[in-house]
Symmetry: C2
Subunit: 125 residues, 2 copies
DNA sequence: AACGAATATATCTTTTCCCATATATTACGT
DNA sequence: ACGTAATATATGGGAAAAGATATATTCGTT
């Protein structure tokens, strides 16, 4: 008993789309698509918004089950929920294609790259 | 002069996603993905909402440039904007995959199929 | 020109969302 | 135990979105 059956997760289209309808939240997700894991201060620096703003939008994404989080010391790392249905992953990937080279998404990546004192620090540069 | 240069159309992610964040509007688009062209009364019947409701949501989609419309007599036919950027089309298609067999989208298709007196009437049954 | 059918818009109310700011929580170092 | 850094939550106000209903527009028919 207690067989660990695999229950595929379910996401309502309206949940996904109202989440990524907000540019700040989409910017977070686009950053997380390129960098598996990012902590709040990295996202805050890259996007250039106030910390509570980023934190609240991350909470929104977390409640929508689009991202998962993990604490490591003082830092909390977010990543795209690895159990997302395929169609959701595809939508995010297609969006990344759509915004490639477009502001403010490109700038976010640049800001992150030039951020000093990054906590997790990219292991393999 | 007046060279007819091809100017690719541009759609902001937030425009697309706030449009399809609303279930009624997504239902319209999903119906239009399967049936190239539908008039307002068909969409109204399939979805089962009040006519002004459908009309207003279609206006929203039109202003977002996600659909185009064409008048033929009393009827106004809507279709998915044929000039959408590829990534947008792909997002819609992926969404269709995601909602295949899911309520209320499946039911909408069934309701449309059993609608009497459809104006355009499917030419080739 | 009058009527009816299909669709669109306007108005009002209610709700939801967002920003800014302040404050709370959690964990590490001393 | 205290201080501080990283993050989270709470609050209050303002703007945008949505539903319901009424009314307007547009076109075909007689």
């Amino acid at each position: 008993m207690g067989k660990d059956i695999f229950v595929p997760m379910n996401i309502l289209p309206s949940t996904l789309y109202s989440a990524i309808a907000h540019e700040t939240r989409l910017r977070c997700l686009m950053l997380l698509l390129e960098h598996d894991e990012l902590c709040v201060c990295e996202l805050t620096h890259a996007i250039g918004a106030a910390q509570p703003t980023i934190s609240r939008h991350l909470a929104h994404l977390r409640e929508a089950e689009l991202v998962s989080d993990r604490r490591e010391g003082l830092w909390i790392y977010y990543r795209i929920n690895p159990e997302l249905p395929v169609w959701v992953t595809n939508v995010l990937q297609e969006t990344a294609n759509g915004v490639r080279g477009v502001a403010p998404f490109t700038e976010d990546l640049a800001m992150l790259k030039q951020m000093p004192n990054r906590p997790g620090a990219p292991r393999c540069a």
